[in-house]
């Protein structure tokens, strides 16, 4: 029982971390141009960002 007190917050925390990461990627526009993202990975130079 005691170890549950530690494990459950860890499990939930990791889940929340994932959710926060997803929220961040969504709000920073990473889902705006999925086709473009798929194409840009083929470009050799990585310093495309203006």
């Amino acid at each position: 029982m005691n170890h549950l007190i530690i494990l459950i917050p860890i499990a939930l925390g990791l889940g929340l971390l994932g959710l926060a990461g997803f929220w961040w990627s969504l709000s920073s526009g990473q889902y705006d141009d999925l086709d473009g993202a798929a194409a840009r990975i083929l470009e050799e130079e990585s310093d495309l960002d203006p």
Binding site: A11, G15, L26, D32, G36, A39, R40, L42, E45, P50
Partner: protein
């Protein structure tokens, strides 16, 4: 990787014609461009270009790099999904036209994007909101399920209660956040006094949540947290897929190059030009229309002569000669010379807006169509509520007023009937169907189009631009000798008239000859000097004036060419059939579909084509006549698919039960159509019809599966055998079965000829 040099001759011609003009005119264009941009702050403007031919990584990089090299460009970002390039630039350091010109130099035809940004932004926001809701529901469902599995696998009472409390703490905020789309729509429906699918969903989720919280606090009993959250998760998947499909369809149709005038160049008293947006043009204004531009409003020519392409309006491919005093409708294309015109209408009551009004009227008529899912919901939702109520009353009677047990049974009925499978049944099939169409170069505007297309029994075709390519082809020549070809092509190259372009493209010759003083005489043809002698290409009578031999040119010749004192060369030009027309028509006939041709063209031309492909025809039809014919058919109980391309077809496209247009169609035609096909072959029509039929079948099967599941599960729920574990398993299993069944749409041997991608490249 290849450099993408994919601009079509036509686009090139139009754009070059736009750019070549004198510098005063550039000022007007610059104004137009700045007008269509968004002000970032005092100095910076954000301009968005639609670049339909951008399709690979080297397109993106070359565009971004080249634009960033311009001194006044701060940011340039290409979006491959929407085919748009967004540029931020400093207005104090340079011109917007330079940006447009460098895109041009790279070989990318483009147009300025003046979007109704409010609409597209809300669409984007809704999409993000749904995706985030989906993520929250997914997170909650996964974690609650982990805890639930431990409870089911035999945790002791103390641990179970503890786990239920944690589940509750996750579920409440998750439902509050992720359930909003359903609650909103349920409230909306209830306040309008109807029931939709979201009412039982919201009721089930909220009741289950409330009951579970109560159970967890008083201890004992079971909790339905997992069922409530999982329900939302599955339903949100359906919602998101549906949204994504509509968004994709909308942006891809919008991304095709727009050719309609967005305004005009007004000439003021001093003779200088300034740009006025279309909506601000009023009757009596004097406008200058350059070669290659469209009339922004109905207008009368007051200075200059030119040739006008009215195919936009009439569907006829032959251009007409125009001079002072002639009146034309908004949207017609000025082919050769620059003319001054006086506006004879305001923007609101021009021919174009008349068409728009007709379309709106027709749209309202069609708005009554009820989608399959809504039809299902209107039957299903009351039944579900009645079943739950019946269960509650029944249990109250049996258990002598044990309200807890009774409410439990009622909630489990609500949860178990809750249409996870039904919520997925339609959108999954539609998304897969839309994807198959997309791969075949067919864009769909919204999901209900599939449902409507599956119901049709009659097809109405437009002629010019739909059954025919709308560009002339040389079918016969007289007296054409090899030695004359070089000269002929050299002269034809001087003109952008459709017939000249056809000759230039279709006579295989490289021309090295030099000609001087070429001059286009609107309504007659083009004339030039070669080694001091006149040469002419144009209508036979005019050409024959200078030919030496007294002409015995064949009567069928529609175009002629000659050099002073020599024999005339004749050509017969005809509008060419689109690819696979005959095959398409016979294919559609085997599907037992009635076919009619509704054309604005002259009777002879229409009759000849109708005889070739063997269909009924109506010639000389105005937009109003087409609508009348459609409503006549509709009144007889027919459901009609209209296929057309011109502005004159737009009202008919809207009025028909469902409609298709080629991507070469006028902008308004494309906006009006439910499907837009981007490849030249008309086989897209039977293909889309087959897919629509199959989606309908699959949706029926899915509903069948979902109902079969309910027939088994509902009695179990009513007699109180549905524990949270059973509910979770049943919901997941039925959803998986439905999705798996929908996937079958990906397989199947519908033939669609793997036509080359030429048109796609041309159109974007």
């Amino acid at each position: 990787m290849n450099r993408c040099n994919t601009n079509s001759v036509e686009q090139n011609f139009l754009l070059n014609a736009n750019i070549q003009h004198q510098s005063t005119y550039d000022k007007v264009r610059e104004e137009e461009l700045r007008n269509g941009s968004h002000q970032q702050d005092d100095r910076y403007l954000q301009t968005v270009f639609i670049v339909p031919s951008m399709h690979c990584v080297s397109c993106i990089t070359s565009i971004e790099k080249t634009l960033l090299q311009l001194p006044h460009v701060e940011k340039a970002r290409a979006n491959l999904s929407t085919r748009r390039v967004s540029v931020e630039w400093d207005t104090s350091k340079g011109n917007g036209l330079d940006i447009a010109a460098s895109l041009e130099d790279l070989g990318f035809p483009h147009s300025l994007y003046i979007g109704d940004d409010l609409l597209s932004n809300t669409m984007l926001e809704t999409g993000k909101q749904l995706l985030l809701s989906l993520a929250v529901a997914g997170f909650a469902a996964a974690n609650i399920m982990l805890l639930s599995v431990s409870v089911w696998s035999g945790a002791d009472a103390e641990t179970a209660r503890f786990f239920h409390l944690i589940s509750g703490l996750i579920a409440v905020p998750a439902v509050a956040y992720a359930g909003r789309p359903f609650f909103k729509s349920a409230l909306h429906a209830l306040s309008a006094g109807r029931l939709n699918m979201d009412v039982p969903i919201s009721l089930a989720v909220l009741l289950a949540l409330a009951m579970s919280i109560f159970e967890s606090i008083v201890g004992g009993g079971e909790a339905y947290f997992d069922a409530a959250v999982m329900l939302l998760f599955f339903l949100l998947i359906g919602r998101y897929l549906d949204h994504m499909m509509r968004e994709k369809a909308r942006s891809s149709v919008q991304s095709l190059v727009q050719l309609t005038a967005k305004g005009g160049a007004v000439v003021d008293e001093n003779g200088s030009l300034f740009f006025v947006p279309q909506s601000e043009i009023i009757e009596g204004m004097i406008l200058r229309v350059m070669a290659g531009e469209r009339f922004p409003v109905d207008a009368m020519i007051i200075k200059g002569t030119t040739e006008i392409d009215r195919s936009f309006v009439t569907g006829e491919s032959e251009s007409v000669r125009a001079t002072t005093g002639d009146r034309f409708e908004a949207g017609v294309l000025n082919l050769v010379g620059s003319v001054d015109v006086v506006a004879t209408s305001d923007a609101e009551n021009s021919f174009l807006s008349e068409i728009m009004k007709m379309m709106n009227a027709a749209e309202n008529g069609r708005g009554q169509y009820v989608r399959v899912a809504e039809r299902m919901a209107s039957i299903y939702a009351p039944v579900v509520h009645l079943l739950a109520l019946f269960t509650f009353i029944g249990w109250m009677v049996i258990s002598n007023g044990d309200w807890k047990t009774s409410l439990y049974a009622a909630i489990s009925v609500l949860i178990i009937t809750c249409p996870c499978a039904l919520g997925l049944a339609v959108p999954v099939v539609h998304v897969i169907g839309a994807n198959r169409l997309f791969k075949a170069g067919i864009l769909m505007r919204d999901g209900s189009a599939f449902e409507r297309l599956a119901e049709i029994d009659t097809i109405g075709f437009d002629k010019t631009g739909t059954l025919t390519k709308g560009s002339p082809k040389i079918v016969q020549t007289w007296n054409l000798k090899e030695k004359d070809k070089g000269l002929l092509v050299a002269l034809a190259a001087q003109s952008s008239h459709p017939l000249s372009r056809a000759i230039n493209q279709q006579i295989a010759a490289t021309s090295t000859v030099e000609i001087q003083n070429s001059q286009e005489i609107p309504g007659y043809g083009i004339e030039a000097k070669y080694k001091g002698k006149k040469i002419r290409l144009g209508i036979p009578q005019w050409v024959n004036e200078i030919s030496g031999v007294k002409s015995k040119l064949n009567q069928q010749a529609t175009t002629a060419f000659t050099m002073e004192g020599q024999q005339s060369i004749g050509f017969q030009m005809e509008d060419d059939l689109r690819d696979d027309v005959v095959e398409t028509i016979s294919h559609l006939k085997t599907k037992k579909l009635e076919i009619e041709m509704l054309s604005g063209d002259k009777t002879e031309a229409v009759a000849k084509l109708a005889a070739t492909i063997g269909v009924k025809f109506y010639a000389g039809m105005k937009p109003k006549d087409k609508i009348d014919r459609l409503s006549e058919l509709t009144n007889q109980g027919h459901k009609i698919l209209m296929v057309g391309d011109g502005l004159n077809d737009a009202p008919a496209l809207t009025a028909a039960h469902v409609s298709m247009a080629p991507s070469s169609a006028s902008e308004i035609g494309r906006q009006a159509a439910d499907f837009v096909f981007t490849r030249p072959s008309l086989l897209a029509i039977p293909f889309t019809h087959t897919i629509a039929k199959r989606t309908e079948n699959l949706i029926r099967q899915n509903f069948g599966l979902a109902i079969a599941y309910n027939v088994i599960a509902v009695p179990l729920a009513m007699i109180g055998y549905v524990t949270p574990l059973v509910a979770a398993l049943a919901m997941s299993a039925s959803s998986i079965v439905v999705v798996a069944n929908s996937m079958r749409l990906n397989f199947g041997e519908e033939c669609f000829p793997n036509t080359d991608m030429t048109l796609i490249k041309e159109q974007g």
